[in-house]
């Protein structure tokens, strides 16, 4: 494997067991870092506000992203639109630590994703099933996250996507070797990637949960379902007490199998983000980019 791809997969390994938080200002970035975030996602508007504002949503202003890079020492990620090669080039030019080719923004291309192998900086991409995850990995993504449904505070879709990916992995593991070729065909991915999943029982890259995590219990749920870490977008800075909630979610991910600690962490967190139920959503971001 090319050195850069391996190094980029390995950076994701270092983020495991951690929480990546959406931030819109240097001040929020500092709060996230002090609370124990393992990375921040710099963006102008968090998904809940993107939903509320409507219209076309694009890459953030590089100056705003640079302000956040200067404010913290942890890795800084930023989003580009699906298929928007130039937004990705701009993010690479400002030495972003990870690009999220994200369905949260309006897609720039409804057929092609970015050929991520052409870049030195790493990419994380969303997926809602094993085929999507492996297609993004084949395009060069070095980290995967469930799509969930961003900006809703409703964890149901993140749960659905994580369960589906995990159950599809188990199905591939249980196959006879001569069945893997047909599985590759059905998943629309290269045989080698299916073979890796069959032999190792996991994706070849780190897999986080994202999209709808609002409470420490939500974060721990995603970890118990097989996530290796959690992205929290609107859940923190749309809540009543962001500092306390951020710290609680960080500790919930570390102690995700310890209900006693989770109970303590869930106390007195103030208002959670209001949230929108799955049935009330007009725009399904998870349906962008397949």
């Amino acid at each position: 494997m090319e050195d850069r791809t391996l190094l980029n997969r390995q950076l994701a390994q270092m983020l495991k067991g951690g929480v990546i938080m959406d931030v819109t200002t240097p001040e929020q970035a500092r709060i996230a870092e002090a609370a124990g975030a393992c990375a921040v996602m710099a963006l102008e508007r968090i998904p809940a506000d993107i939903r509320a504002a409507g219209g076309v949503s694009r890459m953030s202003d590089p100056k705003m992203i640079r302000g956040i890079q200067e404010a913290v020492s942890i890795p800084v990620m930023a989003k580009c639109r699906i298929g928007h090669i130039v937004e990705a080039q701009i993010l690479e030019a400002i030495e972003i630590d990870y690009i999220d080719e994200s369905e949260v923004l309006s897609p720039a291309d409804d057929v092609y994703h970015i050929d991520k192998r052409q870049f030195k900086v790493p990419f994380v991409c969303g997926a809602k099933d094993l085929g999507e995850a492996l297609r993004r990995i084949n395009e060069g993504a070095t980290m995967i996250r469930t799509k969930g449904e961003p900006g809703t505070g409703d964890v149901i879709q993140a749960v659905r996507h994580m369960r589906l990916i995990q159950s599809e992995i188990r199905r591939v593991v249980s196959m006879r070797e001569d069945e893997l070729y047909e599985a590759a065909k059905q998943l629309a991915v290269p045989y080698e990637l299916v073979r890796f999943v069959h032999d190792n029982g996991k994706l070849p890259v780190v897999n986080f949960a994202a999209g709808g995590v609002a409470t420490p219990a939500d974060a721990a749920l995603m970890m118990q379902l097989g996530a290796e870490g959690v992205f929290v977008g609107s859940g923190i800075f749309k809540s009543g007490d962001p500092v306390k909630r951020a710290q609680a979610i960080v500790k919930a991910v570390t102690n995700y199998q310890n209900p006693k600690i989770l109970a303590e962490l869930s106390e007195d967190l103030g208002e959670a983000m209001v949230g929108i139920n799955e049935q009330e959503i007009a725009l399904l971001m998870a349906e962008r980019g397949k």
Binding site: L11, M14, L15, G17, G18, A37, S73, P75, I96
Partner: protein
């Protein structure tokens, strides 16, 4: 032997896998109760700790809130062997656990675009000179200077990337991400 692995955040599973391959057991330390359990199950002379790579700010935050800082510091100062890799190296410096007399520069090679691999000799390993050690540096720190009593084990481009002080072993790279187990074996022999 059962080795304690600080499992607050980061690449701790990779260390567990190496130690399991070498025939040892591990116990994840996620909170103070885990550490107390480790201390009650393993006699003091047999205790060992690995502090993995990850984000030192995240680990520090959880360590402080979980009241893990003091007991770990005390155990290390009492001579418990410890292996710190990348963020784990930072955790041993005077700003964190304050058990090693080293001055560390965080993110010394810049952002992810500055991450790299190298091969270099690590003093004290078997066939150190004939077989350079494969080193993976990910948003890595290096050691700017060391105090008396700290032995420099390896340098890359004249920056210190591995050091030892008594039973403390600190490296800026990730031996848990390669197949070379000599550093873990050195740690187990302390």
């Amino acid at each position: 032997m059962t080795i304690a692995i600080l499992a607050l955040q980061g690449a701790f599973i990779e260390h567990e896998q190496v130690l399991h391959r070498l025939g040892h057991e591990t116990l994840e330390i996620r909170n103070l109760a885990d550490w107390q359990r480790y201390c009650s199950e393993v006699p003091e002379a047999d205790r060992r700790l690995v502090i993995p790579g990850g984000e030192s700010t995240a680990m520090t935050r959880i360590m402080r809130d979980e009241n893990l800082l003091e007991p770990l510091r005390e155990a290390i100062l009492h001579g418990m062997p410890v292996l710190g890799t990348c963020a784990g190296l930072i955790m041993l410096d005077p700003q964190h656990l304050a058990t090693m007399d080293i001055h560390v520069r965080r993110n010394a090679y810049g952002r992810q675009l500055g991450s790299f691999t190298a091969n270099a000799t690590v003093a004290g390993l078997p066939s150190a000179n004939e077989k350079p050690f494969p080193m993976v540096f990910i948003r890595a720190p290096y050691i700017e200077s060391v105090g008396d009593g700290v032995e420099v084990l390896a340098s890359v481009d004249s920056h210190i990337v591995a050091a030892r002080q008594g039973n403390q072993l600190a490296v800026a790279f990730h031996p848990e991400l390669t197949d070379d187990t000599r550093l873990h074996e050195l740690f187990l022999s302390l």
